[in-house]
Amino acid sequence: MIELNPFVIFFAAIFTNNMIFSYFLGMCSFIGVSNEIPTSLGLGQAVTFVLTFTTILNYLIYHNILVPLGLEYLRFIVFIISIAAFVQLLEMVVERYFPNLYYALGIFLPLITVNCAILGVSLFMVIRDYTFLQSLGFGVGSGIGWTLAIVAMAGARQRIKRTKLPKGLEGPGITLIITGLMALAFIGFSGIVQIQ
């Protein structure tokens, strides 16, 4: 493992190793909820929020339960369950005790329980053998990167709404093409830093 500063990982997760533009993870909600900037920003915040906490949680579960028991291969199923349960719990808590937060991003929480970017981050964290701080940087950075991507996409789609498209490309079709173009643009960042 290369000793990378958590901040480097944080920035890399936003720009060079963006969840959407480098790994194409979390595409379902990315395509579905990127019609308007305010909603996509809300969803992005929710993803960042959940990513931060699930990365911490899964780090603890993996290193304190699975590794000591020699059950690393269970990580897929365990991570999925812990994410689903955590999001449920989080939604209940936020709804009850933080009404303002709930109105800003709580209603998006059920949408991202099954977002694969969230499972992806936890799995990458394990594969790349990150330390706790590195994982935290990676989790937060990935969330911000995802938010950046969906907000940029929403901005592009708001403009596209007023243009004429070939019928077959309307909706998801054009969104995927734009995603591809944006991903090409993001390759421009790749010289800054590489994490693997």
Binding site: L74, I81, M92, E95, Y103, I107
Partner: protein, 366 residues
């Protein structure tokens, strides 16, 4: 063997702990206790908190019109929330106009019951029920218009005011991939309790009308809910009734006329019906009977595209022309209009110009 046991035990323990935590959370954090919903400052209901307003109302047998089933994608289930309910959610905004925002209108499927609430709903919604009906007959009135008779299940009946409408569910069929509800006025008499008649015109590309015209067969079952609507017979004054309709707009007018016949109401009534050619006129024998049975009723069809070969001796031109000609004194009249928005707007213009008070013009735009 040992691996299998450890794996199973770990996964079981893990899910067990989480399930326990979630149940605990549901009992404590998710438990809002009993809340009181006050409707129209009058009726009070105690419901379990935490659910959506729509679901809570349905559990109290109050049906708010909703086509999507609470997914926040149809925008029908609007109610006025006067107290409680919290801020308007982003998921509601696409459906609520600025005027409605100021009026505290909310989507009841998104707004959750987390505190005592005061809401306002139209009084007649207390009467709304869902019914599964059997199609007893489908009759062609004109090539474009069908009359549907739907029979209630044994023991069920509907209580509606003459002129009100129901919503008919068009299910998913070939060429239509979503369930939709469309409103149709009831054409049968309110006194008849075991069936209702609907008059449904064909709209090219229309989801419900295509379903009714191309797919529905006698003996099929359909889902409806109702009754709805604030267009119905008014008995406040004893004015002469000016009724105006085109095409399928005849349905609520018929129901009103039957009601007057069944209750022996002695009021003068004139029915101006607009169509293009004599072929577009239908149910003439029913109307002729009504002309005989009612105290003082006259049917005045007006045709806008008559050719010489039709030998038409009645009124010609649009209904506006006919109204302009026949209405002399406005003081003692009230009007019932049913038709397209364009027709209604132009008729209201003629009637108000004649001097009929706007509050005495009742209409149903479709």
């Amino acid at each position: 063997m040992e691996t299998i046991l450890i794996t199973t035990a770990t996964v079981t323990a893990f899910t067990g702990v989480l399930a326990f935590l979630l149940t605990l959370a549901d009992r404590t954090i998710g438990n809002y206790g009993e809340m009181q919903i006050t409707i129209n400052d009058d009726k009070e209901y105690i419901v379990e908190g935490g659910d959506t307003l729509l679901a809570s109302l349905i559990s109290e047998q109050i049906f708010i019109p909703s086509a999507c089933g609470g997914k926040g994608t149809c925008g029908y289930c609007k109610v006025k929330v006067l107290e409680g309910g919290g801020p308007v959610l982003p998921t509601e905004l696409p459906w609520i106009t600025e005027d409605e925002l100021e009026d505290n209108v909310r989507l009841s499927c998104q707004c959750k019951v987390k505190e005592d609430m005061k809401i306002e709903i139209p009084e007649e919604l207390f009467n709304v029920r869902e019914y599964q009906m059997t199609v007893e007959s489908i009759e062609d009135m004109t090539p474009e218009i069908k009359k549907l008779r739907l029979r209630f299940k044994e023991g069920e009946e509907i209580d509606f005011k003459p002129g009100q409408y129901i919503q008919l569910k068009a299910p998913i069929y070939e060429g239509n991939d979503e369930e939709v509800y469309r409103a149709y006025s009831i054409a049968s008499p309110p006194a008849v309790k075991d069936y209702i008649d609907l008059i449904i015109g064909y709209v090219p590309g229309g989801k419900a009308t295509t379903y009714v015209h191309k797919f529905l067969k006698e003996g099929d079952t359909v889902d409806i809910n109702g009754p709805y609507g604030d267009f119905y017979y008014q008995d406040k004054y004893d004015n002469e009734m000016v009724m105006v309709a085109v095409g399928t707009g005849i349905a609520p007018i018929l129901s009103i006329l039957y009601y007057m016949r069944d209750n022996d109401i002695k009021r003068k009534a004139r029915f101006y019906f607009g169509a293009k050619t004599p072929e577009d006129l239908f149910l003439l024998d029913e109307i002729e009977k009504l002309e005989k049975d009612l105290y003082d009723f006259e049917f005045i069809p007006t045709l806008s595209r008559v050719l010489d070969e039709h030998n038409w001796t009645g009124e010609r031109g649009r209904v506006n022309v006919s109204l302009d000609k026949h209405i002399k004194t406005p003081e003692d009249k009230e009007a019932y209009l049913c038709g397209s928005p364009g027709m209604i707007d132009s008729v209201i213009e003629v009637l108000t110009e004649k001097g009929i008070l706007e509050e005495l013009i009742f209409y149903d735009k479709f």
